[in-house]
Amino acid sequence: MPIVLKKSSRWRKLICHVGLILFIAATIFPFLMIISISLRPGNFAGGSLIPHSISFEHWKLALGMSYTDADGNLVKPPFPVLLWIWNSMKVAFISATVSLVLSITSAYAFARMKFRGKGAMLNGLLLLQMFPSVLALVAIYALFDRIGDYVPWLGVDSHWSLALAYTGGVAQHIWLIKGYFDSVPYELEEAARVDGATPFQAFIYVLLPMAVPILVVVFVLAFLGGMIEYPVASVLLHDEQKLTLAIGSRLFLFNQRYLWGDFAATAILAGIPLTAIFMVTQRWLVSGLTAGSVKG
């Protein structure tokens, strides 16, 4: 950049560095704290950032193992954390798969075909996307409660109903995938059509393989969304064995029984894979996020 370097530039840089470092220190302080707490013996919040003694008791509990404390008592894990993680993954996986499958073909039609009502439908989807499921909590609960009277595996306290409730994200996914399809040149499918492929074959064998990146992004977005969702899950799930991690981890922090250390270990255990997925895919996710979604 052909900017004339002034003397003040050095000072500015220094101010920037100091400012950024201070800000980052404040930002990551909570994370350092939580790591420290998970390694400290006992369920106390207080203490210095660097623990005086290190104990893995909380980690053992989080991993579902019991340990013997200093007085010789056997301490059992208070909650089935690994089961909760498994539940979360199951729900997130089902909902991500279902919503991806449902949205792919629509996105294809919106990107490549002409039909009546196309513009209105696209705008309608955009409007639907703005409605958060939080607002329909009562209706979601009442609907699944009713359905559960007839179809028990789709009622309250069922992972399938939760996964289906998350499927409301399709509107947003259709828009994301359509945007990507728009950027893929149509000529390739046209060539396939000339060779005698049906629109369906052109879609499956030509367009879909090229769209794998966006499909992965949408899947990851939906998966992460399902893993971290709190409100709907808190309404639909009650049984301790059925909880997802997002609601289950709250049980550690009741006012009367503040299992700070156990929570810390659980949080890190759950947070590391999620954060890792997020970090690895962030470059692609960010472009998807810019298209209109906000973190939940």
């Binding site: 950049m1 950024l20 949205s103 409301g168 259709i174 409100p231 922090l253 209109g292």
Partner: protein, 505 residues
């Protein structure tokens, strides 16, 4: 045209789901929902039409996604609106038919009560009853395997034994499910039902159904009429009978929110705070985000990659983990934040019990959670600003502040505006934050409904529906519907004002 495997697989899937759909029709019909059954048939017929008619080819692709959007978003919204006009709450959970059934199944215990002994006769059983005066009755041999109510007639008997030994206790336990279904009918017509393990007692329905849908109170006499305004069966004097049932109350819930001071007063306070929270938060995250983005886009600055990574961290960690962490850090007695403040300034602010402090804490935490998103957006948008503008301003001798306010900010505002609106809408409905951080507290002390200083409209709704003992789903739905209206307005504004940007996104 060659058909691939895929076609056959899809066709098979289609037929299976069609059959599954048809299987639901009699189910609905049996559940006394003929409207659903009819609707199901119409939907299936439409599906068959769309997936076989060549004219509807494009719709074959569109339908799954659109249908999912309708079923999973539009339907709950419509249902919410529907509930908001009823009195659906924990006192009015059932439909009128179900409430009537529940009342008809209520029984009152009569005076007659007898001891029971069970004698086996092959794989069948005889029931022997004796009243307190020593009079005996015996039934014919019956299999105790019924799953529905089974009427067993009794005959008077004088023989007190001669049946062998009665069934042992442990076998009696095994026979409980069958015994529960036995209705022993005495010669005079009195019906006896099991009241404890070895005792049967007279019981009769507490209410009987009249032809006009009203109930007659068997014990006290008197007619109970369903009141379709209050949603209860009521006596002539107005006494109400639990459980109530759902009725249409028209605008009553909305009326309560806007006219009844006990409801509209907290509603207005919460509404004001929700607007303030969403706008302040959007502004704060945007301000921090854009400043950080400008710094990180300054090419002369070293370690930009490392800084970016660190600054991005709050966004990558799931909110359900980071919010409780803050809850702990802000803890008034044990939290690190007060520990530090106490060391430096000698103060221990009560973050959770003082309304103003609680509000600022909520804002602080959410800004921490939200700034990385804004930062990423701004970084992308700043990259798109042509370099020449900055070169020209450098030649004119402009400093960084002039650059920022004259070039960067104006050029970013236009493309980021729709995203700011989206962020506003998101924070307007940020239930997760409130539920996990303060649960709405500190609570107002002067209101009848549960409401607190940090409650947003959604968390207020959530409390009315799922936490308050009243569980007033209808009132909660009415509030939700009002919020829907606000969100819909925002959505339409977004769509109208920023159409061009949206199409490019």
């Amino acid at each position: 045209m060659r058909r691939s495997y895929m076609h056959y697989v899809l066709a098979a899937l289609g037929i299976i789901s069609l059959l599954a759909g048809f299987a639901l029709v009699p189910l609905f019909y049996q559940a006394h929902q003929p409207i659903y059954a009819g609707a199901m048939i119409v939907v299936l017929a439409l599906a068959v039409f769309i997936y076989t008619s060549p004219r509807m080819y494009a719709y074959r692709y569109v339908v799954p996604g659109i249908l999912a959007g309708i079923v999973f978003i539009a339907l709950p919204v419509a249902y919410t609106l529907g509930i908001s006009f009823t009195n659906y709450s924990s006192q009015h959970l059932l439909s009128q038919a179900r409430a009537t059934d529940v009342l008809l199944q209520k029984r009152i215990t009569g005076d007659a009560s007898m001891n029971m002994k069970l004698f086996s006769k092959g794989d069948q059983y005889k029931l022997y009853f004796s009243d307190d005066a020593g009079k005996g009755y015996i039934s014919d041999a019956t299999p105790l395997t019924a799953t529905k109510e089974q009427h067993v007639p009794l005959h008077e008997t004088t023989a007190t034994d001669g049946f062998g030994a009665p069934v042992l206790l442990k076998d009696l336990f095994k026979l409980q499910p069958g015994l529960k279904q036995v209705v022993a009918v005495m010669p005079d017509g009195t019906e006896l039902r099991q009241s404890s393990l070895r005792r049967f007692a007279q019981s009769k329905p507490a209410y009987t159904l009249n032809a006009d849908g009203s109930l007659t109170d068997v014990e006290h006499g008197g007619v109970l009429k369903p009141n379709i305004h209050s949603g209860f069966f009521e006596t002539a004097s107005g006494q109400q009978l639990e459980p109530g049932f759902r009725v249409n109350v028209a605008w009553q819930n909305y009326w309560r929110i806007f006219k009844d001071p006990a409801f509209h007063e907290p509603f207005l306070r919460i509404f004001t705070w929700t607007i303030a929270f969403a706008s302040l938060n959007t502004l704060a995250t945007f301000a921090i985000g854009i400043v950080l983005a400008v710094m990180l886009n300054w090419e002369a600055l070293e370690f930009r990659g490392a800084y970016r990574m660190m600054l991005f961290l709050p966004y990558a960690v799931p909110a359900f983990i980071s919010i409780p962490v803050f809850k702990g850090l802000f803890n008034e007695n044990l939290g690190e934040i007060n520990l530090v403040l106490n060391m430096i300034l000698g103060v221990r602010p009560s973050w959770f019990s003082d309304p103003t402090l609680a509000k600022s804490m909520v804002l602080l935490v959410n800004t921490w959670l939200g700034y990385p998103y804004m930062m990423i957006l701004c970084m992308g948008l700043i990259k798109a600003i042509p370099e020449e503008l900055y070169e020209a301003s450098a030649l004119a001798g402009a400093g960084p502040f002039t650059n920022f306010f004259r070039i960067t900010l104006p050029l970013i505002l236009r493309p980021i505006a729709p995203l700011l609106i989206a962020s506003f809408a998101f924070n307007f409905n940020n239930l997760t934050l409130i539920a996990l951080l303060t649960s709405g507290g500190p609570d107002f002390l002067d209101t009848q409904v549960p409401a607190g200083a940090t409650d947003l409209l959604v968390s207020y709704t959530y409390r009315i529906a799922f936490q308050d003992s009243g569980q007033n789903y209808a009132l909660a739905s009415a509030i939700s519907s009002i919020v829907f209206l606000i969100v819909a307005t925002l959505a339409v504004v977004n769509l109208r004002l920023f159409k061009v940007n949206r199409q490019n996104a």
